[in-house]
């Protein structure tokens, strides 16, 4: 099917293309390739050439006003003209190119067309005292204000500010964790993440959240390190030694924060914010398990809590008198051991099964 803008030449004459403000060009026969403005207006169907503005759309995209008596030389076939009834024109520039537009409003797509702006670029309206605005294709810009409206095109990058780091993003949306990584932040560290858009309340985000950068203004992401449960200065989670995959999966799923820490050659798994059953003086503790280097060949035994636990009933808890220093803090040791009937088995026991023992040991003291 032929393109709407192509047509066969008339057998005994010429064609020109004529459009209104919508820039949809249609062929019009014209038996002269040096017409006047009045002839063009007439060919476009306007009887009174004096109130009609005829604009010649040049190959470079500029619009040239053709007076009714002015003769214009058109190629064969062709010549594109915008013919409208108007009594004035509005001046604008696109990327510095001057255009006189015969109507007070102009759409983004026509600006793009006139300025030859490629689809992979954005079109901006320059503004005084305000951030320049993106002009979308379907949007109309009012040219009626004083002064020459200046439009410019720019590569499509979106700007995102992450904790002071300016990112140029080639896509209009970005996942928070990607943006953080690009800005050089460790996503494994615990962060509170907030999105701040000028003039709006801050909005909490997750690592998986998607930020839409098309909103006006530069989006800013703020990061605040999450506090560890004991109120110490926040720090990155330590992974001084690895555990079994099954352990690490379980810990990640069930606890917000855990660390493996080497402290004077001793190897501790610390689980922060470990919930203890009702009946104790605390609701949450930091739980410590000592994991020897030959684990799981070597067993895990006992467990340690910080701060120390006491029963609300005031009763003493057996075999919890010994204190152990872990990373400079005094943990309470719970001397709880496997029975002979239930020895540690290297091929099936691990952190997960030991946590089950911890849980039942803690529950036992408050089950009356």
């Amino acid at each position: 099917m032929p393109n709407a803008n192509t047509f066969p030449p008339a057998q005994d004459g010429h064609f020109i293309e004529v459009a209104g403000l919508d820039l949809v060009f249609k062929p019009v026969p014209l038996a002269d390739h040096t017409p006047t403005g009045a002839q063009i207006a007439s060919a476009a169907g306007y009887s009174d050439a004096q109130v009609v503005t005829v604009l010649h759309l040049l190959a470079n995209g500029e619009l040239e006003d053709i007076r009714p008596t002015e003769v214009v030389s058109v190629p064969q076939p062709g010549g594109r003209f915008v013919v409208v009834v108007t009594d004035r024109s509005y001046r604008l520039t696109i990327d510095g190119k001057r255009i006189d537009w015969p109507a007070q409003r102009i759409s983004g797509s026509i600006l793009r067309h006139l300025g030859g702006v490629q689809a992979d670029k954005l079109l901006y309206l320059q503004r005084q005292d305000k951030a320049d605005a993106v002009v979308e294709d379907h949007e109309f810009v009012d040219l009626g204000h004083a002064g020459v409206e200046a439009f410019y095109s720019r590569a499509r990058v979106w700007i995102l500010n992450i904790q002071g780091v300016r990112l140029e993003v080639p896509t209009p949306t970005i996942v928070v964790s990607d943006a953080m990584r690009q800005a050089g932040f460790d996503t494994n560290q615990g962060w509170h993440i907030f999105l701040k858009v000028a003039g709006q309340p801050k909005q909490a985000l997750e690592l998986t959240s998607v930020v839409d950068l098309r909103a006006p203004g530069i989006e800013k992401i703020r990061l605040t390190p999450k506090d560890v449960s004991n109120g110490e200065a926040a720090q990155a989670l330590r992974r001084d030694f690895p555990l079994l995959d099954v352990d690490e999966r379980f810990l990640d799923e069930h606890f917000a924060q855990w660390e493996t820490v080497l402290d004077n050659q001793r190897r501790w798994l610390l689980i922060f914010g470990y919930s203890v059953p009702a009946g104790y003086n605390e609701q949450q503790v930091t739980l410590g398990l000592e994991v020897p280097p030959t684990y799981p060949g070597a067993q895990i035994d006992m467990f340690y809590v910080f701060p120390g636990l006491a029963l609300n009933s005031g009763q003493a808890i057996e075999c919890t008198q010994v204190q152990e220093a872990i990373c400079g803090q005094s943990y309470q040791r719970w001397s709880r051991h496997r029975s002979d009937a239930c020895q540690w088995r290297p091929d099936s026991d691990n952190v997960v099964t030991h946590l089950a023992l911890v849980e039942s040991a803690l529950a036992k003291e408050v089950q009356q």
Binding site: F241, Y295, G297, Q299, S335
Partner: protein
């Protein structure tokens, strides 16, 4: 000398394979070996499992010809997929041809490419003759062959089948032929100190082609009474035990025999080096090092000789007295009872040892509270006792590789001697329970030996 490309199979699996491939009807039969691999650079295939192709499922069985079903290969592919195992398609040559026939060559070109399509990796084929000898070959993905120079059958006895047909029948112990065969083998000694230096000295002089020496420690003046080849100059310069020892080996065996690894056996580096050996000697003084040796033996199907000496003391009114002067030699064959099965260590004693090393106060307190078992006070071992035990340990190896005992080697899974009581006791392999351990023929699966502490660094894992 580079140690040979090798396939290792336990004696139990070898027997099962032989029984199936030679059912007594004189016709060919087939099986598929599912093999793990050592991490390299040496290629060692470790038979983890055997899939027997039912005789009735074969379309045609003749004395010199066999047509077996592709469905069996499919089953093996499913089993091999998860752990990236290598498949070795195996059949019998009842006529005794120790070699691949032209027919075998042709059928390999048909069957092997389909294994690569399904699994990638490294796969091959093998034949077995009625005497139990196995000849194997491997292919890379482009079908270029890798010859498998030796097949080790590891059990109470150690047998090597060489592709070049050397050392068949098996050499007699203490002959130059045995020395020549040892020249093709690699031994690893874990711990090169009081007992280890004596074991390594014997192995190097016996003629092993390669002796891998693993120890993290330096020579100190107080070691000079029991480390052979160590000198005053070594102690003054605080030279590493393995570097100094390797230099001595080079002086009487030449370059390339000793491979010093100056690292603890509890490191990834040392475990990777040890995995390359054909046989292993653990001469260590900690339980966690024994556990690593035990797991190495199981994971890489390496026969393990473990030696320990001790001079326990008892308290007397006047001070202390010698309770005994004793030594222990355990031989662990792949798939047999492990050191853990023999209670050389257990999860509780491993933890106790860790605690004693890193937190002596906590260890003492737990002992007093009764949470930990106590151990007898030990007097330092002396070179005379070390030599007795080290000699027994290396003799144990010779007896396994070149059998000379009147009785079966199965009767000597553990030897224990007491010089105080002047007694020597022998424990047959049946006196220990054999538990199936998940590390059996684990090969190069991560984490190494199933221990998270030996896991590949994250960056290496990605590469």
């Amino acid at each position: 000398m580079n140690p040979s490309t090798n396939l290792t199979i336990t004696n139990a699996d070898h027997r099962k394979l032989r029984d199936h491939l030679f059912p007594g009807d004189g016709l060919e039969a087939a099986a598929i070996l599912l093999c793990a691999r050592t991490p390299g650079p040496r290629v060692r295939l470790l038979v983890k499992q055997i899939l027997l192709v039912p005789h009735s499922a074969c379309k045609e069985r003749r004395s010199d010809y066999l047509v077996w079903p592709g469905a069996a290969i499919e089953e093996a592919i499913d089993l091999a997929e998860a752990d990236g195992l290598s498949l070795v398609l195996t059949h019998s040559h009842p006529g005794g041809l120790f070699g691949f026939s032209r027919h075998d060559d042709r059928s390999d070109l048909l069957a092997v490419p389909s294994l690569f399509q399904a699994l990638g990796g490294l796969h091959g084929t093998a034949i077995m003759t009625p005497d139990g000898a196995v000849l194997a070959r491997l292919y890379r993905q482009d079908l270029s062959p890798i010859s498998v120079e030796s097949v080790m059958v590891a059990g109470d006895d150690l047998t090597w089948h060489w592709a070049d047909r050397k050392f068949s029948p098996r050499p007699t112990a203490f002959t130059s032929e045995a020395t020549q065969e040892l020249g093709r083998l690699s031994a690893c000694v874990i711990g090169v100190s009081g007992t280890g230096s004596l074991v390594a000295e014997q192995l190097a002089r016996l003629g092993f082609g390669q002796v891998i020496l693993i120890d993290f420690d330096k020579i100190e003046p107080r070691n000079l009474n029991r480390i052979v080849n160590s000198t005053l100059a070594d102690a003054k310069a605080q030279r590493s035990k393995v570097v100094a020892f390797a230099e001595a080996v080079t002086s009487y065996r030449g370059e390339g025999v000793a491979v010093p690894v100056n690292a603890s056996i509890s490191t990834r580096e040392a475990v990777l080096c040890a995995s390359q050996a054909d046989v292993m000697f653990s001469c260590v003084d900690t339980l966690d090092a024994r556990q690593i040796a035990d797991l190495l033996a199981a994971s890489f199907l390496i026969p393990l000789f473990d030696v320990g000496v001790s001079i326990p003391t008892r308290r007397t009114t006047g001070g202390s007295a010698i309770a005994d002067v004793c030594g222990r030699i355990d031989y662990v064959h792949p798939g047999g009872p492990t050191l853990q099965d023999r209670r050389v260590y257990d999860p509780a004693s491993l933890r106790a040892e860790y605690l004693r090393r890193t937190a002596p106060d906590a260890h003492r307190e737990e002992m007093q509270a009764g949470y930990l078992r106590g151990v007898a006070e030990e007097a330092p071992a002396v070179i005379a006792l070390n030599m007795r035990a080290a000699s027994a340990c290396v003799m144990e190896f010779i007896a396994r590789a070149y059998p000379f005992r009147h009785e079966s080697n199965a009767a000597y899974a553990r030897t224990q001697f007491s010089l105080a009581a002047n007694e020597e006791e022998f424990f047959p392999v049946e006196s220990f329970p054999t538990t199936t351990i998940p590390q059996f023929a684990r090969g190069d699966l991560e984490p190494l030996l199933g221990l998270p502490a030996l896991r590949a660094p994250k960056s290496e894992a990605i590469a």
